[in-house]
Amino acid sequence: MPASKNTHAENGDPHAFLPLTPAVFHILLALADGERHGYSIMREVEVYTNGQLKLGATTLYRSIRQMLAAGLIIESDERPDSTLDDERRRYYRLSDLGRQVALAEMQRLDRLMAVARGKRLSLNQAAPGITTGMTMGGL
């Protein structure tokens, strides 16, 4: 990230973080419903992408480290009941900034979709193997 972009990011401008890497965006989406631990994030992403995106363990935690440093997510202080889950697991949740950044990225992608629709692209022209379930905005 260039210095000027860093400065905006430090000032809490959500647009300064865009575009997000796929891993970061998916982690934000996975945490949109509530707190999750690392493996739960990984499974959630896998489920809603129909298994097309499998985050590696190190990719996941490198992204988490980066997002914690940027203030997009927060490590939860609370721990679940030890009878239900492993106490040592770390749980993460979205920060207000993280939510704003996720929304900003969605808006960015929406605008991109609008441009794509304006170019008269249709699903009939899609490459073989691309399914409607995986496309965003009904392209």
């Binding site: 509530g34 493996y39 739960s40 590696g56 363990a57 935690y61 490198r62 009941d81």
Partner: protein, 335 residues
């Protein structure tokens, strides 16, 4: 807190026996994770292993040993790419830190060198203005008197600021030289002592040879020894500081005394100009006389002193501006 659907993987407090495929995979994975920088391993190593252990457990339950084997390639690729990226980030950060430290270090050295040049010019001014005629003029004319007092007061402040910023650096350099057994740095730090000894020795020799007569002949030599000693000392100390491994925060702190020194140099320089102009208008006989060093032209001496002071001040200002105009990412790495 919403607890996600529990994975069917084993709870760490009740470890279930692992199939050989899972155990071997985890063993290799743990070894490969050792490639990562220590900071990442310390912070997230256990979490990464736990997540991968659960993934292996789930894969085994779904597809047996074949399912675990299918994890190998993506896991190795993920590990390798992540490790390379992490080391690249560390290298970039180290480079930025070194660049920023070099920048504040060279800035501090620049201001120090400029200050020494300024002091030499100041010594010339002090020698010239110490004569009775000049002190009387300072008492008789407000402009000359006020500007002279500004020069005196400013000299004290500048000296204190240089000591405040420079002594911690000199001590840090000395400490590093002693701990790292760097004889070259110790020798460099000894140059100012040798130079001072040479100055005292030269003075003593001149006094002994001339027996207090024709001192002006020896004075030229004394000035030469002083200037040469100052140049050698400045270069040696600068080189010693440059060669030493000193905490970047010390250089970062030194920016403030360096800025104070530079501002004081500017004030002294302006006061010296005002002093000369005041002398020219209020006591022209002195300004146009031969009250300079070794009975040379006062005006020429004043002009030479002002020229050296101006150049030194501009150099110091450039050095200070450079250290305060560091890009944000550089400042972060120093602080």
């Amino acid at each position: 807190m919403s607890v996600p659907p529990p994975s069917s993987s084993s709870h760490p407090s009740q470890p279930a026996p692992k199939p050989w495929s899972v155990a071997a995979t985890l063993h290799v994975y743990r070894m490969l994770l050792g490639m990562y920088p220590r900071g990442f391993r310390a912070a997230y190593g256990a979490d990464v292993l736990q997540v991968f252990r659960q993934r292996c457990g789930d894969a085994y339950r779904e597809r047996g040993a074949a399912g675990v084997m299918r994890l190998w390639l993506p896991a190795i690729v993920d590990l390798l790419i992540g490790a390379v990226a992490d080391y690249c980030c560390l290298a970039v950060e180290a480079w930025r830190r070194s660049m920023s430290t070099d920048r504040v270090r060279s800035s501090a050295i620049t201001v120090f060198c400029a200050y020494i040049a300024f002091v030499l010019a100041g010594i010339g001014f002090q020698k010239m203005s110490e004569y009775e005629d000049f002190t009387q003029a300072a008492k008789a004319h407000t402009l000359i008197g006020v500007s002279f007092n500004v020069i005196l007061f400013g000299s004290g402040i500048a000296l204190l600021a240089v000591l405040g910023g420079g002594l911690p650096l000199a001590f840090a350099s000395l400490r590093y030289a002693l701990s790292a057994r760097r004889t070259d740095i110790l020798l460099l730090l000894g140059v100012p002592i040798v130079a001072f000894g040479a100055l005292i020795g030269y003075g003593a020799i001149v006094l002994a040879v001339t027996r207090g007569e024709k001192l002006h002949i020896g004075f030229v030599g004394l000035v030469a020894v002083l200037i040469l000693g100052a140049i050698a000392s400045t270069a040696a100390v600068s080189l010693a500081v440059k060669r030493s491994q000193i905490d970047g925060n010390l250089f970062y702190f030194a920016r403030i005394p360096a800025a104070i020194t530079t501002l004081t140099m500017l004030a002294i320089c302006l006061a010296t100009i005002v002093w000369g102009l005041g002398l020219r208008f209020d006591a022209p006989q002195l300004f146009n006389g031969d009250g300079g060093l070794v009975a040379t032209s006062t005006a020429a001496n004043w002009f030479g002193i002002v020229t050296v002071m101006t150049i030194a001040t501009l150099v110091a200002m450039a050095g200070v501006a450079r250290s305060f105009n560091m890009p944000r990412h550089m400042r972060a790495t120093v602080a």
